[in-house]
């Protein structure tokens, strides 16, 4: 696999022939931190971000923990502070946890932006909001309710029991369930440790444990294909519906086979793209508090509400449209 070869060669090459230090190029230095590097969701964010960086001619540093880990996020931010970068953009694993480090960055005159998952308001200038936790939770739940006819049993597969954003979504869902879908019953929440295979096992168990389960909702990207595979193997395609967060590429085959009804996700590439543009603007003082609109390169204008730059409604990918996306 030559990408591998290339990476390794690059790694060694760069390490040995010690490249000119960062200062050498006088370009803006923007950093971007995902919750977890390995996560396909953020990899596609990076794709968009890289595109933006190329257009703007800024240096983009993309780094984060390999597993979602609040402590590591802080350490990396602190490292960036001492590297004297211009802008730090973070998808916060834990609101309070990260904020201490971010405030420190602001004190050093580094601009701070959050995307995907927000930190405390006073720890950043803007939050690139792909969709509020509430929006995601309600979106998924409404879709689920629609598919189940607003009644019956459904189950949820999460990343880990401790993942912050997941808990937040679940909280909103509980509220929504209570007030809007009394007949819809959440029978179980099972962790998948962000492992597709574990999600598959869990889903299998869920189905046999709850014979009249109508739907499985996976709220972590590896979970959705995992659950779908389980349903497919159980031969319950159509009988037990699968929805969840996920990237088109990982779910196309299941959507086409009719295992997965629909996958919800905002356009992650755009998210990355917008974030970098906003960051650059922030550094150049083109983006100031109080702005109500922001124009991001080829994507055109985005609305700013308060200190939230809104990416727009999440997409619902389904048979009809999923082939139009490649990320």
């Amino acid at each position: 696999m030559n990408p591998i070869a290339r990476r390794l060669a690059a790694a060694l090459g760069l390490l040995l022939s010690l490249t000119p230090a960062l200062a050498a190029d006088a370009r803006l230095m923007i950093t971007m931190m995902p919750k977890a590097k390995g996560n396909a969701y953020f990899i596609s964010c990076k794709a968009g971000a890289d595109r933006a960086a190329k257009e703007l001619g800024v240096e983009l540093l993309f780094d984060g923990p390999t597993d979602s880990n609040a402590a590591k996020q802080n350490e990396i931010v602190e490292n960036w502070i001492t590297l004297g970068v211009d802008v730090i953009t973070v998808a916060a694993e834990n609101k309070e946890g990260i904020s201490t480090a971010l405030r420190k960055a602001q004190k050093q005159g580094i601009k701070v932006l959050t995307y995907d998952a927000d930190a405390l308001p006073d720890a950043r200038s803007f939050f690139v909001n792909q969709a509020t936790p509430q929006g995601i939770a309600y979106g998924l739940l409404d879709e689920a309710a629609r598919l189940c006819g607003e009644e019956g049993e459904f189950a949820i597969i999460t990343a880990t029991l401790t993942a912050g954003n997941q808990r937040e979504w679940l909280k909103h869902m509980d509220v929504r369930l209570a007030e809007k879908y009394p007949k819809l019953k959440l029978v179980a929440v099972r962790p998948s440790d962000d492992l597709k295979d574990k999600a598959q096992s869990e889903a299998t168990a869920l189905m046999s444990a709850n014979p009249n389960l109508k739907l499985i909702m996976a709220i972590c990207t590896p979970g959705t294909p995992g659950a779908a595979e389980a349903v497919k193997q159980a031969g319950k395609t159509g009988k037990v519906k699968v929805i969840g967060l996920g990237l088109p590429n990982e779910n196309k085959r299941y959507v086409h086979e009719g295992v997965t009804e629909s996958v919800m996700l905002w356009n992650t590439e755009d998210l990355g793209y917008l974030t970098v543009y906003a960051a650059a603007a922030l550094a150049k003082d083109e983006l100031k508090p109080g702005a109500t609109q922001f124009k991001a390169g080829t994507l055109g204008a985005f609305e700013i509400r308060g200190d939230n730059i809104l990416l727009g409604k999440p997409y619902i990918f389904n048979k009809a449209n999923i082939d139009r996306f490649d990320f």
């Binding site: 990408p3 299998t204 294909p225 031969g235």
Partner: protein
């Protein structure tokens, strides 16, 4: 049959759990889902067999999880580039054997403590994989899944294959001279040397075998779904070690067998689905698994005390 007390007691415990499930959650036994769950554990069983050997020879290998991942991804990449499974499988096994051989050289050749050596290789392999793969899924062509057979056929093939391997190892460890040599080396390698056995060689081969089985298991895993995730197999090492130990293989070497490991694995593996069926909240899972491990060793301890071995 005092000699096989542990194996029997674990099997009994497993029986009890299954009985309880039959009473409180008969749904647990629907054939199809059960088959799927068992299939998911088939690769783990293969790895557990290897781990049993390693621990019987008084070593330990905590790098199996990483070996498993590396083999899975490489196998996946090869398959994705259109290599036939008939080539991919052996290739993965060979790669595993190679990784195992590396551990083997350090442990048997240089006589370094296996726990530290494999700790190092575990980190190196895992991080190396992260470096080159960056967490990206590998999508497999459709023909790969279930070896291109029907799903049921594929699942039975995998379960069958795992069980065949289990039986082979079960018999080999008891009936073949080599098998007994592993026990001999695990009990006292100097005595083994005097008895004309070559402990270094045996240890080395055990590690190679461990790696090979990890490779085989990886292949058995990737054919179960159309994608491979690089994070696959993280935490596998502890799961397997726990299973083997619960199954009555003594960490001090020379005692136990793969049958016990099999029972131990099943016991630990059915915790999660059992909880799901009993509608117990997921966050008790780790606690219960920990409790089972402790229970098993405590049972050992008490029994040894009764035999008055605790003394002196």
């Amino acid at each position: 049959m005092n000699r096989y007390f542990r194996e029997i007691s674990v099997t009994a415990a497993l029986g009890l759990v299954l009985l309880a499930m039959a009473v409180f959650a008969p749904g647990f036994f629907q054939p199809q889902p059960l088959l799927s769950l068992v299939t998911r554990e088939a690769p783990t069983l293969v790895v557990a067999c290897g781990m049993a050997l390693v621990i019987i020879s008084r070593q330990i290998d905590i790098s199996v999880g990483s070996q498993f991942s590396v083999c899975s991804i490489c196998a996946g990449v090869l398959a994705a580039r259109g290599w036939p499974l008939a080539v991919v499988g052996p290739a993965a096994a060979a790669l595993g054997a190679l990784l195992g051989a590396f551990n083997g050289v350090l442990v048997a050749g240089l006589r370094l403590p296996s726990i530290v050596v494999t700790l190092a290789t575990m980190v190196m392999l895992r991080q190396g994989l992260n470096l080159v793969q960056q967490g990206a899924f590998v999508n497999l062509p459709d023909r790969v899944q279930w070896f291109g057979l029907s799903q049921a056929a594929g699942q039975w093939t995998l379960v069958g294959a795992a069980l065949v391997l289990l039986v082979i190892f079960g018999l080999a460890m008891r009936q073949l001279a080599t098998g007994r040599w592993v026990y001999a080396v695990g009990t006292d390698d100097e005595a083994a040397r005097l008895a004309g056995i070559r402990p270094q060689l045996v240890t080395f081969l055990v590690f190679v075998l461990m790696g090979l089985l990890a490779g085989v298991a990886a292949t058995m895993n990737i054919v179960q779904s159309p994608q491979v995730q690089p994070a696959v197999g993280s935490g596998l090492e502890l799961k397997v070690i726990a299973a083997v130990v619960v199954g009555g293989v003594a960490i001090s070497g020379g005692r136990g067998n793969v049958w016990g490991a099999f029972a131990g694995l099943l016991l630990l593996a059915c915790v999660s689905p059992a909880l799901t069926h009993l509608h117990v909240e997921a966050y008790w899972e780790k606690t219960i698994q920990g409790a089972i491990i402790l229970l098993a060793v405590v049972a050992d301890g008490l029994r040894q005390r009764k035999r008055g071995e605790g003394q002196a």
